[in-house]
């Protein structure tokens, strides 16, 4: 007779990250989410406020191990990434980190992540989705080795104004001289780590990359070092609010990767997503999507992702009509909400959230020409007591929140 509890077999289960022994102890509400085939902590508390404010006032410790990670080495490593992404990889210095999207040959986004130049001939690439096939296809005829590091390399994100102070206490070498979007090798608790000054919150922050085997001792060391500075284990839901404030988008939420699109209209280009600054059309040689992106650059894009601030008085009016104070979501809402100019729908919000630090209701929206100019007045749908209403809103430039200490 077959074993009745076959569901307990690891093959049936979502993966656990190398920090699971610690995070599962602390995750009081059992609020788990799925991320890249892993279970990831949504929040450690019932509410998000403590974790959210740790990002903005102190330091949040976030397990980001589920990120897909590749190591790309060999004589042609730079050539491969130069061909894959619209960024000028040949100009990249060792220790530098680029944020970038990458496209199919129609110039539509497939994924986005960071590229880190670890050495002259060695890079690390992060992605939201598995990219091995795409990397291999583009590497035909090149002398490169592509290794997936996702499970071998554990990662923690330490985000917030106190993150530098804490890392200086926890690391063997001070991180004071580590500039924005740079990476350096270091040691924590005697274990080798690499530390990049990157993150997904728009605050001062770092990501610490380590061998999965060293994960727990490094977690413990960071928590001890940060105790007096308000370090707070933080789940991905608070990070989701912060990333909207920072104007950062998410695959499958704010854009559909071209490889998942059912219809052409679902796809987005880097220009449409506000990533024009990452498209180096002046770089040497071919890269995937080049011709389409050149054309779009010349002719202009019809859509653009921008910020939207929902007008508070307007929202108050809509709710007052049914005798209620305005209701704001307690978490970032991932869902499409129509945006109007007069009677006409001109776009949609893909993520909206209440911003506690700005005391504003904000959204990442995708709007058509010419409604994406900052200052444009539009309306957004709000559901007030099961009824669809429209509330006035204003288009603003991204990011919503950009503290001066982020790059300092």
């Amino acid at each position: 007779m077959p074993e009745l509890s076959a569901v307990h077999h690891p093959l049936y289960q979502l993966r656990r990250t190398p920090f699971h022994a610690r995070t599962s102890q602390l995750c009081l509400p059992h609020n788990w989410r799925r991320w890249g085939g892993c279970i990831a902590v949504g929040s450690y508390d019932l509410g998000l406020d403590r974790e959210y404010w740790a990002i903005r006032n102190h330091a949040a410790l976030i397990d980001i191990s589920p990120l897909i990670k590749y190591e790309i080495t060999g004589r042609d490593a730079a050539r491969l990434l130069h061909r894959l992404t619209p960024r000028d990889i040949h100009r990249m210095q060792v220790g530098q980190v680029y944020y970038t999207g990458w496209c199919d040959d129609d110039g539509k986004l497939l994924d986005d992540g960071t590229v880190t130049r670890i050495g002259e001939q060695s890079f690390r690439l992060t992605a939201a989705e598995p990219q091995f096939r795409w990397l291999a296809l583009n590497a035909v005829g090149m002398q490169v080795q592509i290794t997936e590091l996702t499970e071998r390399l554990a990662a923690l994100s330490l985000q917030g104004p106190k993150s530098r102070t804490i890392l200086n206490l926890a690391c063997e070498q001070p991180v004071d001289s580590l500039k924005y979007f740079r990476m350096a090798f270091n040691r924590v608790a005697g274990k080798a780590v690499s530390v990049s000054r990157t993150g997904y919150t728009g605050d001062l922050g770092y990501e610490i990359w380590m061998d999965a085997e060293d994960a727990l001792v490094i977690w413990d060391t960071l928590l001890a070092a940060g105790h007096d500075y308000g370090i707070t284990p933080t789940g991905i839901l608070a990070m989701d609010m912060a990333r909207v404030e920072a104007g950062l988008f998410m695959l499958d939420v704010d854009y559909t990767p071209a490889s998942h699109a059912w219809i052409p209209g679902q796809r987005s280009s880097p220009y449409e997503m506000g990533l024009g600054w990452t498209v180096n059309l002046d770089k040497q040689g071919y890269f995937v999507g080049r011709r389409a992106l050149e054309r779009e650059h010349r002719e202009g894009s019809s859509w653009k992702m921008v910020g939207l601030e929902i007008d508070w008085e307007g929202l108050e009016r809509e709710y007052a009509a049914v005798g209620m104070p305005p209701q704001v979501p307690a978490t970032a809402v991932r869902g499409s909400i129509p945006v109007y100019a007069g009677p006409r729908q001109v776009g949609y919000a893909s993520t909206s959230t209440w911003s506690p630090v700005l005391k504003k209701y904000i959204a990442l929206v995708h709007v058509q020409q010419p409604f994406h100019a900052p200052g444009t007045k539009v309306e957004i749908e709000v559901t007030v007591e099961h009824h669809r209403r429209k509330s006035p809103a204003t288009v603003v430039a991204l990011p919503f929140y950009d503290p001066e200490w982020k790059k300092k």
């Binding site: 509410g47 006032n57 106190k162 007096d228 500075y229 104070p325 704001v328 307690a330 209440w354």
Partner: protein, 399 residues
């Protein structure tokens, strides 16, 4: 409670109409109020009527059974009053403390980054950005009156500033009995302000710590250190604390509301250290025998001894303390009587009677002189409501 707080909230945002007046504005306000009352069910109306007249003890006993819960909730009803939880009228005070809303969460209490002063600092910097000049450490001595109108202020340092509009945000006693000669006001108004109850009853002990106190009930560092810790085991305990105050003494076993601001905002203390803020009742403004150093020390000692019963390690972690009596509040914050709300939030001092009947719309009997602070409607708390409504009324008159 949430429903009741939500029901009362619209009233808070309303400029109190004067029920004795036939002016268009007051009639409109009364109509609004009438419409609002009409929108409530009979049931809700009774509940509100009860809420504003009941004692917090009576209210809570209708709903709860557990002593520590009732004691803690009841304590919200005595904050800033010279009353006990069994005194009628304290149910409203309780409600007043559950009216807050932070980021969409009702009944929430907020902490301002860098302490409560961060709120005024933010308002000031926003005002400066709009070109407003702000003078601090510039005490007003008198409001200058010319031709029956407020025409400016004379500062204690001798400077005179002229203005078409003067608004006072000091307490009612200063604003009306000190800044302005009484000949400019009707006798009745002066009488009402004289009778306005501003007797302070709350003390504050700020303690600097080298570590966190360990509480018997929940040992170790934990979420409790990030919340409010209330020493109020029962209604009876709080009522007895009041008994001492009734006869002029500070409570021998005081009620306390304790928070650790440094647990919420790490910038409030050096790393590893903490500040502990203890709001204490009762500490009468006019304590029997007067507040001298010995009395203050005794009061501070009583507070620490009380905490020690619940957190025995407290004395080991204290590195400094500051004892603040209502007299100190009067001296430091410039609030006559040292009442934390510039005057108790009692039914006869609320809404169209705050600070005085007929003068609850932020105007005063002296034209050009306005009043918008905690002593005006809707009362105290770091909410800026009185100031905002006063400013709105001033703008209306200006046009």
């Amino acid at each position: 409670m949430a429903r009741a707080a939500k029901a009362i909230k619209p009233i808070i945002g309303l400029v109190p109409p004067d029920p004795s007046s036939l002016s268009w504005r007051d009639m409109k306000g009364l109509l609004k109020l009438g419409q609002y009352a009409h929108s409530l069910s009979e049931h809700e109306l009774y509940r509100i009527a009860k809420l504003v007249t009941q004692s917090s003890a009576d209210l809570l006993e209708e709903w709860f059974e557990l002593d520590p819960l009732k004691g803690t909730k009841a304590a919200s009803g005595i904050i800033g009053t010279y009353l006990g939880p069994r005194s009628p009228g304290t149910a409203y005070v309780l409600l007043h403390h559950y009216m807050g809303e932070i980021d969409g969460a009702f009944r929430a209490w907020g902490f301002a980054k860098n302490g409560t002063g961060g709120v005024t600092a933010a308002i000031a910097s926003s005002a400066r950005a709009l070109g407003v000049e702000i003078r601090t450490n510039a005490a007003v001595d008198k409001v200058i009156v010319r031709g029956g109108r407020a025409a400016g202020v004379a500062l204690a340092n001798g400077d005179e500033l002229s203005a078409t509009v003067v608004m006072s945000a000091a307490d009612p006693k200063r604003s009306f009995l000190q800044f302005v000669d009484q000949q400019h006001f009707p006798d009745e108004f002066v009488q009402a302000i004289r009778n306005f109850r501003v007797r302070g009853s709350s003390g504050k002990i700020n303690i600097a710590l080298s570590g966190l106190p360990d509480f018997n009930c929940l040992p170790g560092e934990g979420p409790l250190h990030r919340g409010a810790i209330s020493i109020s085991p029962s209604i009876e305990y709080v009522e007895r604390a009041y008994d001492d105050a009734k006869y002029g003494n500070f409570s021998r076993q005081p009620y306390m509301d304790i928070i650790f601001p440094s647990m919420i905002d790490r910038d409030m203390a050096p790393p590893g250290h903490h500040v502990m803020s203890c709001f204490v009742q009762y500490a009468p403004y006019d304590v029997a025998g007067g507040w001298d150093d010995a009395k203050k020390d005794a009061f501070g000692e009583t507070v620490i001894a009380t905490i020690e019963k619940y957190a025995p390690n407290i004395r080991k972690v204290i590195v400094g303390k500051q004892v603040i009596t209502p007299q100190d509040i009067e001296r430091i914050a410039g609030i006559t009587g040292g009442n934390i709300f510039h005057g108790e939030l009692l039914l006869h001092q609320l809404f169209f009677m705050r600070p005085a009947p007929q003068w609850a719309d932020f105007r005063t009997p002296l034209s050009g002189y306005y009043f918008g602070a905690a002593g005006a409607h809707p009362g105290g708390g770091v909410m800026g409501a009185a100031g905002k409504m006063a400013a709105t009324e001033i703008l209306k008159d200006w046009q």
